[in-house]
Subunit: 144 residues, 2 copies
């Protein structure tokens, strides 16, 4: 199977606000006021969680269909915790990003718990964004 | 320094479309028609790239300020390639997510190349989303 390429173009509006273009869509990323931003959009790490939620939804329904689970919908709560020390340039042995990400999925369906645990395991392993967060992915950043 | 917690709540609208709430903001994630979606928003992996672009912008300006670089703005091009085989449940030894992510940053400033390379290195190492993609991050998914 051939690979698929996805891309976005972004432009700073100010030091915290970024306007992102992807196909016909626009996204605005910013920081809240208490992180020094102009607060006109969700912040980068909130976008990361949104990305994961959207990916889990797609895979949740795909796998449910394969398993003949009548999935009427899902709700998701996502949370991540980070220490801003490294980001802010303070001395730290910690990492810059989320220490871990917690997701709770509430499926609206009548399947039993054992079936749902199998479903959940398949969803997690086949979700592209879960993979990119859960496992190391080379990020190549160059000056243009 | 104490940690910061970020969270989002999401709800499936249909098998590919997800509505995400974060503080006062709403985001719509979907898939394009050629991936079986209803195409009313960027897709999950495009959100992942948007997240990275927004994070790099914030850190780019923060580090520039510390280094006394007069950064007027930045433009970014981001691209990722993935093999949909695992996502689609086909036999594969490949991973589900992006194989790698390529970012090109175009800084609008007058600093010399050596200064910009130092700047770029600091930006990459201090960017939370670069860290979460570049390095493994535990993702805990549970049924609620």
């Amino acid at each position: 199977m051939s690979t698929l390429t996805f891309g976005v173009q972004a432009q700073s509006v100010n030091p915290t606000q970024t306007q992102v273009k992807v196909r016909g869509f626009q996204m605005t990323v910013d920081e809240p006021a208490d992180l020094g931003g102009t607060d006109v959009g969700a912040n980068p790490v909130e976008y990361l969680l949104a990305s994961l939620s959207g990916c889990l939804n797609v895979v949740a329904h795909l796998v449910a269909k394969e398993m003949n689970i009548a999935l009427r919908g899902i709700a998701l709560d996502l949370e991540g915790e980070l220490d801003p020390a490294k980001f802010m340039g303070k001395p730290t042995s910690g990492r810059a990003g989320f220490i871990s990400v917690k997701v709770t999925i509430h499926p609206d369906c009548d399947a039993d718990q054992a079936t749902l645990q199998n479903w959940l395991q398949a969803v997690e392993s086949r979700c592209p964004v879960s993979d990119n967060i859960g496992n190391a992915t080379p990020v190549h950043i160059a000056l243009g």
